[in-house]
């Protein structure tokens, strides 16, 4: 049956022995070059940043729910940022800004891609490590530097950056315009340059590893959807992040060296500024050229993880694997030509607005295909409700709810009245905030055994899921209606408008729902930390999954597999195949060993194999007839 073996695609072997060097604490846990350790570093830093950003959001949610009430505790905690127990309006804007920045960049980009691309790319394509472990380590250290710089801005006189996470100039360019545009803004910009450097180093590594270091037999169409998602995400990041740096550097020039890239015709406090000829819109173009792909950088890894987790736990192949890959590619390509939908009413040429509207609504088609394919994956499955599965399902539910409101906002005519209202807040918190964080949590629960060799507690996972899932809907669903009433985002208080005061009770409700969801995260943190040290020991393949990482030993050795790297013979989704003994067949099981379950479909580009299958089926039939 040698004809059934998969052809070697010329992927180099990595059989050279890894001599066992002695790791010190410093080389093993701190300056580690092992992708698995770097993944854990990204994850723990990401979770820490997420907790910080979540606490910031609770602070401003309290302000929105009780605008007239003083909380002396806040003064004790925040000092001059909350004089007499009330948040300072400028500090409120800083909170909003830093919450957004941390969540989008530090948690959902670095924390998500950084963790799971690092962990899964070498393990799922069958490589010993990343293409460049040293650059990989640098990527983490740049990320940590960026985090520290960003957080350090809380400890300066004027407080952190305040012009919103989109830092539109002139507000962000004029230190006189608000406190948050002073030193805090400079730190924001420096932090972001470090972050982009980190992101690029990571991205280049991911792309290189996927393209060059796949094991024998792992052709592109045998890669799990997680790898496809990480691969395309990395490409997006590598192509779009440099544009943000360009925009940021020009902003630094405007702020510090008196240039006028983004500034023109400006009078601050009655004083005429010398800037002429610049355009604030230019910054918005540069920002959103990254900013829009960024939201796909955030959601695509979550889609990949959810696809994998849902397939494993439905015990069913992912429905329409090729369609899933093509829709990811479609989203990747389209995401570069839709950035203008953030700028419909900013003064961009209305004709451009029309064009961007068309491209934006087209992107809904691949998204719809993905949703339907997930539903079809669940259909007639045998669904095991592991916490990871629940979070993957939550991701799909949020993606539907939040994605549909995108059809409103992507429509330029409707955007006129919805732009920058709470409708937008509801939309993106569901579709990219909650959906992406649920994808990330699904990943944490699913690959925890691979990271730490132990299992997380399932019951606590259930509690965490339901409280967070319900909480997120309670927080974000009512916000749509505030938006429909024309309530703008980034307002310090809704006390100044009679028409907005009636939303106060809703705001209180939302705040308490948010506090409940925040408390639910304690269940997760306890579970996470406790399980690292005292969790139940994991087996090699606790979820009965097909992908390569579960063929590696539980001990998580340097170089991933002892001896030779595994050879891949089949796609990763052979679950519940009729005729097979078990309901899963690992990617490293040759087709020749599973004659009873092979289908003609398995031999689409392998005529010799198909012939062998036909011969085998004929013999079987002949045998039966003889009987």
């Amino acid at each position: 049956m040698s004809t059934l073996s998969v052809q070697d695609h010329g992927v180099a072997h990595h059989e050279e022995g890894h001599e066992h060097h002695h790791d010190t604490f410093l080389t093993k846990y701190v300056f580690s070059q092992d992708h698995k350790m770097i993944a854990k570093q990204f994850l723990i830093t990401g979770i820490t940043m997420a907790v910080i950003a979540m606490l910031l959001s609770i602070l401003f949610r309290i302000q929105l729910a009780y605008p007239d009430k003083a909380f002396p505790l806040l003064e004790t905690l925040l000092g001059r940022f909350a004089p007499e127990g009330r948040l300072d309006p400028e500090f409120y804007l800083s909170l909003v800004t830093i919450h957004g920045t941390i969540m989008v960049f530090f948690v959902l980009t670095a924390g998500l891609s950084g963790t799971f691309s690092n962990l899964l790319i070498p393990l799922q394509v069958g490589a010993r490590d990343m293409a460049s472990p040293f650059i990989n380590m640098l990527s983490y250290w740049f990320f940590l530097t960026a985090c520290i710089i960003m957080l350090s801005s809380f400890f300066i006189q004027k407080g952190p950056a305040g012009p919103g996470w989109t830092i539109y100039p002139p507000l962000s360019a004029l230190p006189t315009a608000m406190k948050g545009s002073g030193l805090g803004m400079t730190l924001w910009l420096v932090s972001m340059v470090c972050f982009v450097a980190s992101s690029l180093m990571g991205g280049i590594n991911y792309v290189t590893t996927v393209l060059n270091m796949r094991t024998k037999g792992m052709d592109l169409w045998k890669m799990p959807l997680t790898i496809w998602a990480f691969f395309l995400t990395a490409i997006l990041g590598v192509l779009s992040f440099p544009v943000l740096v360009a925009g940021v550097v020009l902003l630094i020039f405007d702020r510090s060296f008196g240039t006028s890239f983004y500034l023109s015709d400006i009078v601050v406090n009655g004083q005429v500024m010398p800037f002429e000829g610049g355009s604030p819109i230019l910054f918005q173009h540069l920002f959103w050229f990254l900013g829009h792909p960024e939201v796909y950088i955030v959601i695509m890894p979550a889609m990949g993880i959810s696809s994998e987790v849902m397939s494993v736990n439905s015990r069913k192949p992912i429905f329409g694997y090729h369609a899933m890959v093509y829709s990811l590619i479609g989203i990747t390509v389209l995401s570069f030509i839709v950035w203008g939908h953030h700028m419909f009413i900013t003064g961009m040429n209305p004709f451009l607005g029309g064009v961007f509207m068309i491209t934006t609504l087209i992107i809904a088609v691949p998204s719809a295909v993905k949703t339907f394919n997930w539903l079809a994956t669940l259909w007639r499955g045998n669904i095991r409700f592991t916490p990871a599965m629940l979070f993957a399902i939550g991701m799909v539910s949020f993606f539907i709810s939040g994605g549909l409101t995108g059809i409103f906002l992507g429509n330029a005519a409707l955007d006129i009245n919805l732009h920058d209202t709470y409708f937008v807040v509801a939309h993106f918190h569901l579709v990219m905030g909650s959906a992406a964080i649920f994808g990330m949590l699904a990943g944490v629960y699913h690959w925890f055994p691979k990271m730490f060799g132990r299992m997380m507690d399932e019951k606590l996972g259930y509690l965490h899921f339901w409280l967070t899932f319900i909480g997120a809907y309670l927080v974000f669903f009512p916000m749509h209606f505030m938006g429909l009433d024309g309530v703008p985002r980034r307002y310090y208080a809704f006390t100044e408008f009679a028409s907005m005061q009636r939303w106060l009770s809703v705001n209180m409700f939302i705040t308490w729902a948010a506090i409940m969801s925040a408390c639910a995260q304690v269940a997760f943190l306890y579970n996470f930390i406790h399980s690292i040290f005292w969790g139940k020991e994991a087996t090699q393949n606790p979820w009965q999954a097909n992908t390569l990482e579960w063929t590696a030993p539980v001990e998580r050795i340097h170089g991933n597999w002892p001896g030779e790297l595994p050879t891949v013979y089949r796609w990763p989704y052979d679950y519940s195949k009729p005729g097979a003994e078990e309901d899963f067949i690992s990617q490293i099981t040759p087709l020749s060993e599973t004659m009873s379950s092979n289908l003609p479909h398995d031999f689409e580009d392998n005529p010799a194999g198909l012939e062998a299958l036909n011969t085998w089926t004929n013999t079987q039939k002949a045998n039966e007839e003889v009987k």
Binding site: L73, Y321, T346, L378, F385, S397, I400, T405, A498, V506
Partner: protein, 394 residues
């Protein structure tokens, strides 16, 4: 049995007792502490209360968790199967679907009815139509997909007796659900594209009366209005001229500027086309008038505009929303600094007659103070103003 063990467990009892004691201790201590403080300090009592509440919650969760674990183990010892978590989760999914859908329905009816009243402008009606179409389509998709999702979860929950159905792909059905969304979105795109073009079409059509030009300038944290004087033309502006009383930088070398009027309220005549010319002095602001479905950013160095026709007067709208205090508002909708949340202007839509009366009362930008500042020949100006007044009264 297991339950009894837990209930009689001395450890748990002791735990609870210690916590109650510590909690009350803390509460008592804090009452005295707050009594000592002269000025109202931190309400440690309240803080302690919430912390205690959280701890009690966490402990009860832990206790329930232990009970479940013990129950599960005891079942296993007896040779039975433990709790069927897959079944429980499946049922919760179904319950979530039902309660969630009911909640969403409640939210849409109760809070949905709190959203903006009908559009008070010509183009706004078209936008609202578009909104309704989109809502209906998305609502159908929302309901169907969420029902499918959670019903599948319940129906296909794990069972040892069953095996999942091996279905890697089905090209026909995949084509169907690619093409259907594509068609629906094409319809929405075409509908939206033409609505957008119509809304944004800002050139005055020949033969129709020219629109009324009003300048609105945003700065931290207020809006300045400038109406054209009797000549109907707004004068030029130059930001370099901003100084002292000339806060908008109006160029008084341009004769059209002389009679330009300032106003506190944005008063608009009903059923007349208005062209708002939008400027910003310091940072980006956004002119947002949700009742008219109007929004356009005010960008320093990039004059923008929005053309619209108000169709419902303030009086009529007050009757429609049954609120005698109702006012149309214009407010800032782009983060612009500390008082961004209170940067509003009242908009009043009136009949044409009322509008003419009102505008006749407005004062020009060129105040005597400004005139002396700019050293303009005052005699010459006085004459032109009296002329204008006469012209207006005619």
């Amino acid at each position: 049995m297991a339950f009894k063990q837990i209930i009689h467990s001395k450890k748990v009892l002791a735990f609870l007792a210690v916590f109650m004691l510590l909690g009350t201790n803390m509460l008592m201590a804090q009452t005295t502490a707050t009594a000592d403080a002269a000025k109202p300090g931190v309400d440690w009592l309240g803080v302690g209360y919430y912390v205690l509440l959280f701890f009690l919650l966490a402990i009860s969760v832990a206790v329930i968790g232990k009970i479940l674990k013990v129950y599960d183990l005891s079942q296993q010892i007896q040779g039975k199967k433990g709790i069927h978590w897959n079944n429980i989760m499946g049922v919760i999914c179904l319950v979530f679907l039902v309660v969630g859908m009911a909640g969403a329905y409640w939210d849409i009816t109760v809070q949905g009815s709190m959203s903006l009243p009908e559009a008070a402008s010509k183009h706004g009606v078209k936008i609202d139509d578009m909104f309704l179409t989109t809502t209906i389509i998305t609502m159908i998709v929302f309901v169907i997909t969420q029902i499918l999702l959670f019903v599948f979860l319940f129906k296909y929950r794990h069972s040892d007796k069953r095996r999942a159905y091996f279905l890697p792909h089905n090209n026909t059905i995949e084509k169907v659900w690619t093409i259907i969304p594509a068609i629906v979105l094409t319809v929405l795109v075409i509908f939206g594209f033409f609505t957008w073009q119509e809304v944004e079409n800002s050139t005055d059509v020949k033969g129709q009366p020219a629109s009324i030009n009003i300048d609105i300038t945003g700065h931290q944290f207020a809006w300045e209005l400038r109406y054209a004087g009797p000549d109907g033309v707004l004068g030029k502006k130059d930001f370099r001229l901003t100084a002292g009383a000339n806060k908008l930088g109006i160029d008084y070398k341009d004769k059209n500027s002389m009679d330009d009027l300032q106003a506190d309220t944005l008063v608009l005549p009903v059923n007349k086309t208005i062209r708002l010319n939008i400027f910003a002095q310091d940072v980006i602001h956004s002119v947002y008038m949700p009742h008219f479905r109007v929004q356009q950013n005010a960008v320093p160095g990039l004059p923008t505009f929005f053309k619209f026709t108000p169709t419902i007067t303030t009086e009529e709208m007050r009757r429609k929303v049954e609120d005698p205090k109702f006012e149309y508002l214009l407010y800032c909708n782009k983060i612009c600094g500390s008082s961004h949340y209170n940067m509003q202007k009242v908009v009043r839509v009136v009949t044409e007659g009322e509008y003419n009366q009102w505008i006749a009362k407005q004062k020009p930008y060129l105040t005597p103070a400004l005139r002396t500042e700019l050293k303009l020949a005052s005699a010459d100006q006085n004459k032109s103003i009296t002329n204008n007044r006469l012209a207006l009264n005619n």
